[in-house]
């Protein structure tokens, strides 16, 4: 049995337009297979996925959840000394680079750590250029 996800989404859109609007950016049908190209939150929806209510349907409940999560983060930080927070920032940074290195090696399909670090370096360079665009310039200010 084939499911026509476009019609399902259309029906869903009629019932819950805001929800569908948020979740699905683009739908593409290719041959007989339907592919959800991009969906918010990284979710790939299956045609068989039932429509279930989530907290995103209730803005007030969502805000309360977001506030609660943030409150826990703040209270945790308050429970640490300033030096502990700084040490944790160091630990997080070193850990992130380790994960990036592992990810780069996996993507390249290499077991050579040096190649992995070269790729991380290349990505960081690109990221730096993107982040600095419009913020920093090599042109001296005119008087």
């Amino acid at each position: 049995m084939q499911h026509n996800v476009l019609s399902l989404l259309h029906d869903n859109h009629s019932q819950h337009p805001s929800r569908t609007q948020r979740r699905v950016d683009e739908v593409e049908q290719r041959n007989d297979r339907v592919v959800i190209v991009k969906a918010v939150c990284g979710l790939y929806l299956s045609p068989c996925l039932p429509t279930m209510p989530t907290i995103h349907d209730d803005p007030a409940a969502l805000k309360a959840l977001q506030d609660d999560i943030y409150r826990q983060k703040v209270l945790r930080a308050r429970g640490m000394t300033a030096l502990e927070r700084l040490a944790e920032a160091f630990e997080l940074t070193n850990s992130v680079f380790t994960r990036m290195h592992e990810g780069a090696m996996w993507q390249l399909g290499t077991t050579d750590p040096a190649k992995g670090w070269m790729e991380v370096r290349r990505r960081m360079d690109r990221l730096g250029k993107a982040n600095d665009h419009g913020i920093y310039t090599t042109e001296a200010p005119t008087a």
Partner: protein, 187 residues
């Protein structure tokens, strides 16, 4: 080389050249706010003219490869020199020259000393109020999050809000400050 080792090398180079410094960026926001990862070590150097900065850069050449091109930020036209660690982890080092902007001058004058066991060194950081003012002034998405986090963790009741409000008024960032305060949930 870990981020704390790289930071220690930069601070040591400043000390060796007799250049006063202030570590900013994620170091300062994590110290006063919610710890987060970073990709660079940001340091403001009290230097006038290029020679002191050049000496610090030269001393760091063993560990950091600097771009010879000086850059300017388009908000305050402050000068910065950027380098990347020569060690495996490509962390960046950004050196900012202290310049005659009234806020930057006051921020540097109010900086605070700390001893970091992780860095095994004494370093200087801005005050939490100055971190908030600076971040609101820059106003990028990540800056606003940082300002919000420092406000939330420190709590407005423990901060010199009159000082913050005064600078925000001068910078035209009062609305950003109010938005940050309004969005902090009750603790």
């Amino acid at each position: 080389m870990s981020i704390e080792e790289l930071a220690a090398v930069v601070v040591a180079a400043c000390e060796a050249e007799g250049v006063e410094h202030m570590v900013t960026g994620a170091f300062a926001t994590s110290y006063y706010g919610i710890p987060r990862s970073t990709k660079d070590v940001d340091v403001v150097l009290s230097v006038s003219g290029g020679s002191a900065l050049s000496r610090v850069v030269a001393r760091l050449q063993v560990d950091v490869e600097f771009d010879p091109q000086i850059q300017f930020d388009t908000l305050t036209w402050g000068r910065r020199q950027v380098g990347v660690s020569k060690h495996t982890t490509p962390l960046k080092v950004e050196l900012f020259e202290l310049f005659d902007d009234p806020f930057v001058q006051e921020q540097f004058a109010r900086r605070r000393q700390l001893f970091s066991p992780s860095m095994k060194r004494i370093a200087w950081l801005p005050s939490p109020e100055d971190v908030i003012v600076q971040k609101l002034r820059w106003g990028r998405a990540k800056d606003l999050i940082d300002a919000h986090d420092v406000l939330a963790v420190q709590g407005p009741e423990t901060l010199d809000m009159a000082y913050i409000e005064g600078w925000c008024a001068r910078h035209g960032t009062t609305a950003r400050l109010q938005a940050a305060l309004d969005s902090i949930p009750p603790m």
